[in-house]
Symmetry: C2
């Protein structure tokens, strides 16, 4: 399992916006992201989980320098898209493990999450791609997370 | 903008499980995914957005043949991880656009979302990587989504 992971990376260059409580019907994501695009906001991660009672939250990350504008644009849309609140969070970082074949090695995600839990690090968001598993954590613990993950996946000399 | 997207893909081979209402403190994700790994469940996407009032939802996808076991394992953990419900959803599909430089071309996500909205397709989950933007939609509309996205990104002859 350790052999599957080739790198641990982190990124502290971005901040997060969460547009919360939006009705889960067509057109909402389109409206929000067209407005952000119109303001030339470079959006990196976009995360939306399922709605359970008709509303859901959309989170996205932007470079720190774009946070104020992103929050402003999102807030100005609150009425139009019926969001209940817009939260801006500059104090995040992402930590990722990178490797092939993670889908067929289910223990890998468990090991990442156990490693962070053992450090008392709360996992605030989780996102995956075929070769990368990313967790959003508090920025002030990301270095501790990276060290612990290097150790857990036998990458200490990298 | 259209020039940035090189492919539209879809995947109907997976089902979704949502473990809802879990307390947002260290150890929860670890416990859930270690249990899934112990049952050899091949997890593909993992998605968790932020908690706003101390609890959050964790969704993940598995091959259709693993859905029953994944639901069972998750349900059996409900007490231990204090989840409020476990939802199994076999009727999803993912549709993705693939391209380079999406972060610096914010209109691309807006175009994808507008295209789906114009077809009346509800976006149930959103996930991103550096080169791929993925939406979870109802399985019965994914083909319509793929056709519309090919047209929107000028890939009709692909
Ligand atoms: C919440 C948002 O993604 C909505 N479901 C839409 O399709 O735009
Ligand atoms: C919700 C879950 O991700 C939790 N925050 C954990 O760290 O395990």
């Amino acid at each position: 399992e350790q052999a599957m992971i080739s790198a641990v990376t982190s990124d502290s260059s971005e901040a997060k916006v969460t547009v919360a409580g939006v009705p889960d019907h067509p057109g909402v994501a389109a409206r929000l992201f067209r407005a952000l695009a119109d303001h030339s906001i470079n959006v990196d991660m976009i995360e939306q989980n399922v709605s359970l009672q008709g509303t859901t939250d959309i989170s996205f990350t932007v470079p720190h320098e774009d946070l104020a504008t992103a929050e402003e644009v999102s807030s100005s849309l609150m009425g139009a898209i019926e969001a209940t609140e817009v939260l801006a969070d500059p104090d995040i970082a992402t930590v990722s493990i990178i490797g092939a074949g993670m889908k067929t090695h289910p223990g890998i995600s468990a090991t990442m999450f156990e490693t962070l839990a053992a450090e008392g690090i709360n996992i605030e968001m989780i996102s995956t791609s075929s070769i990368r598993l990313t967790c959003v954590v508090r920025a002030d613990v990301v270095d501790k997370a990276v060290v612990a993950l290097h150790r857990a996946f036998n990458l200490e000399n990298e």
